[in-house]
Symmetry: C2
Subunit: 167 residues, 2 copies
């Protein structure tokens, strides 16, 4: 039953705008990866596909090309911001850890599961929600989907309840 | 964001008759607990409450006292067997690890969540199924319930698919 210890693990951390995923990354860095680790960390951000905001606005009119381009720029800035913040956090906790970053376009559930499969990831780490409240309303539970569909172990980290009662 | 490293974690591993939970324990010992760890491992087995088999048999007759006593003995033997196997596995992988064992009576979903809460567990580890196929049919997904209801991080370990196609 007991197998040899894995020394060079590929750990995929799904990150997003929400505090949950940054807390999950922080917890992973402090509790799962040892100081002398040879693990490789892959930070994945899944960007919503353009189709989500390129069809119609709220009153049934098509968005203009300018609006779509501005939305696309904003979406890219958010993605870069999230990945940048996550990378900085890794460097603060483990200065020498090998970090790779990925920005994928698509439903986060599919993007995460496909990345786990294609890279042969050893452990998937994610926040309990995985994605913010608006995306969650549309997408359902990302973490629950991933637990059911990936083959590797999944570490789900819940952010402690704050003193003002928010979760 | 980065917090100080936890040195003395309480890790609760939910074990049962199924191979999934023994694989999860093995994976945890090899991947989550370092050789020089000061972590405390708590092995929990949840035994079905007596009411499950003490009411009526399949044709509407009450079980006799002898049958109930025999079932109770069998249930205790299974619990002791599972806990014994799990403890042995811990000693093989980490000879010096501090291991505590618990046998609780009740729905495993409640038993696990209550134990996490009462002991102030830092990480919950369980197999992807948590319990065998018969119990699962009655109880639903134990791991999914626990992810939603405990406050600590949850590590769900799926047993790799075997070559004959079984999961």
């Amino acid at each position: 039953m007991a197998e040899t210890e894995v020394k060079h693990r590929k750990i995929l951390v799904a990150v997003c705008e929400g505090e949950e995923s940054m807390y999950a990354l922080s917890w992973c860095l402090n509790n799962f990866i040892s100081r002398d680790s040879q693990d490789a960390l892959i930070l994945l951000y899944a960007k919503p596909p353009r189709v989500v905001y390129s069809a119609l606005d709220g009153i049934g009119n098509l968005f203009s090309g300018d609006v779509i381009a501005a939305m696309e720029r904003y979406s890219n800035e958010v993605a870069e911001g999230v990945i940048g913040k996550a990378k900085k956090l890794c460097q603060v906790v483990h200065r020498d850890i090998k970090v790779e970053t990925k920005i994928e376009i698509g439903d986060p559930r599919d993007a995460i599961c496909q990345m786990v499969e294609s890279l042969g990831v050893d452990v998937l780490v994610m926040g309990s929600h995985g994605y913010g409240p608006i995306k969650r309303a549309f997408l359902g539970s990302v973490s629950n989907h991933c637990v059911q569909n990936v083959r590797c172990p999944v570490l789900i980290v819940k952010r402690p309840i704050s003193t003002n009662g928010d979760s």
